[in-house]
Subunit: 428 residues, 2 copies
Amino acid sequence: MTVLANTAPPDTAADQPAFGNATGLVCRECGADYSLGAAYSCIECFGPLEVAYDLTGITREAITAGPQSLWRYAPLLPVAPYAGSEPNLHPGMTKLVRADNLADALGMTAPLWVKDDSGNPTHSFKDRVVAVAQSAARRLGLSTIACASTGNLANAVAAAAARAGMGSVVVIPANLEAGKVITTATYGGTLLAVRGNYDDVNRLCSELIGDPITQTWGFVNVNLRPYYAEGSKTLGYEVAEQLGWRTPGQVVIPVASGSLLTKVDKAWRELTSLGLIPEGDYRVFGAQADGCSPVARAFADGIDVIRPVKPDTIAKSLAIGNPADGPYALDAVRRTGGAVGSVSDPEIVSAIRLLARTEGIFAETAGGVTLATFQRLLESGQAARDSETVLLNTGDGLKTLDAVADVVGPTAVIDASVSQVHEALATP
Amino acid sequence: MTVLANTAPPDTAADQPAFGNATGLVCRECGADYSLGAAYSCIECFGPLEVAYDLTGITREAITAGPQSLWRYAPLLPVAPYAGSEPNLHPGMTKLVRADNLADALGMTAPLWVKDDSGNPTHSFKDRVVAVAQSAARRLGLSTIACASTGNLANAVAAAAARAGMGSVVVIPANLEAGKVITTATYGGTLLAVRGNYDDVNRLCSELIGDPITQTWGFVNVNLRPYYAEGSKTLGYEVAEQLGWRTPGQVVIPVASGSLLTKVDKAWRELTSLGLIPEGDYRVFGAQADGCSPVARAFADGIDVIRPVKPDTIAKSLAIGNPADGPYALDAVRRTGGAVGSVSDPEIVSAIRLLARTEGIFAETAGGVTLATFQRLLESGQAARDSETVLLNTGDGLKTLDAVADVVGPTAVIDASVSQVHEALATP
């Protein structure tokens, strides 16, 4: 794809709705209505706010004629029609890979697919949510995008700000993987490393909102969260379109805050209600690491309340001990007849290696969590081998090399001689 | 894009030419003809062999109706028409990014673009050449793909083999960046680390050809090199198509073996002779690191002979001291009125940071070499600020984190308190 010039909005921008088909914000809990702004929490009941739309006249033809990026779904997002022509990283339309070798290894009798979001510009699905939040920041007159991050979001925010000539303030736990820290710092902007875990970082960002220093900042995953979260729907739209406008039988989604899982489900419900895909039964499965599995725990216990935990896992991008959208993720899983499972760190590493060996896809730890959990769910019978399945790989193994560094390496270290090659290959 | 199932060739395969429009191999030096096979060197004069074609009836319309990958150019490659439906990584159609912020920083008055090949499946342009060589290996009945590599090719070969269920043997210098070694090892296959530099590795691979142990192996960049090298043309095709079927005024290309540079030039000459793009004057520039600059040296000295060097640079993916296609790269540069420059390691690091800060593109060291060399060529007046320019970024910064690890880091490490954020931001 050609990425368009970093031009200003077109002359027609004034005639176009700043947030497209979005009509307002609405509380998920009590249904109170709000106008579109940098708000994320209901004044009445403290419930989370979500974008409401007036969606009509959206056709498959218009979508497929759009750009090879998530902007093809602009009419389904809280963005102006011209959002895609403003400077941004143009994420989305990543590959949906038919994973026949992996299916064989798992004993699947139905097709298996990997939606590989490591193909995004900064190699995780976070480029999607940032693109939508960045557009909202512009419309709201905010010149700096900020975030609390476990790493992938840090990369995405700093890179998107650089492309657009905006400021960035990225707040991370100080113990993140080097790959994510160095990368973010290279993109420039302000990078604050906090002594604490992600939940500490998140709390700090909430405290910063309202402080005068952040007047021109939009925290993409805090006060721009309603817009940001909608970006995750595009993963669901793309899977449906790439399957030929239908849903799979099963989908397995890693759970950090729980937002991604709920938004993929929302995307498919939207496409169904718009008549763009046929009504289809699909089951949504959630995947967590044992070291941070509050949603899996609540699912296993059959309760609605998510008890916060202190994360301890190599899957740092999923290390959110107090997941804001956990209850909604549970709802979607239970409504569709799915399940939430969790796996150990060694299982995560094994699954990363299995996916790489069978399909040439090197996933970060979150991708290992997804595959390993699917393996567990197959073994327990909670997921089915004869149901077409999509696994979401949300990030790139290059960012979490430490996870596998101790267990893989060269077959042999040799001198540059043919006889030493013979020896190396003869060794079993 | 949806990546098709890992199916066997279609039933019609027997009716289709195994190498598409390719008609044979021909010696670049003496013009001797050979049939299509695993051959790379002329028996008469030891010159390199190149693919010859019979190209007719190729239209823009047929290409643009093709898949969102390099397989849209299959009729211009030595591959069967069905090559794209066999298991492979589906590389190509990476983003051409309009780099207005970088253009401003460089004082350009003409448009500047970055062709960002870090968007390929294993994040370098090597996925392109491997895809074409892998197809040739299949047609020639070879079940294992092998290579001598400085790292990116190692990733590409191991991943492509995994996807296709083929064997792989990857030979690398033992001192490569950890990111490239761990990644390759994770994909599986055989990984041999050689005590020596790339030229030692390359020599070993040449010696292995003919040894019985390699009977079913195709060395993608040795005895499959004629096919492999043609894959680089797709970078040229894509740039021309993405610019609206035309060439830019200037292109800057990193030089390792010199093959990529010669093939981008070849691609544009082919498109011109086929009438797919108008005749246009373009200048081809080559970029090397000071620590491995045999082609830049020959250019500066105005001679045709490339004197081999012992590489010593952080740009390991360009560390080929005895570049096989150096003389042909010189020819293309001189014919088009370009130049070959070289830059120091600190300049490489600065350029990586400049590109990341201005455009949100995190390049590996080779990308830093390209941008830094362009800056030098602008300063010397050898390249022009008023000529539309495309810079090729061939790889991803995540694979060469060491290059920047010592010079970037968090703005501040703080406790989770609003007052410490104030302090951190107040510090100049």
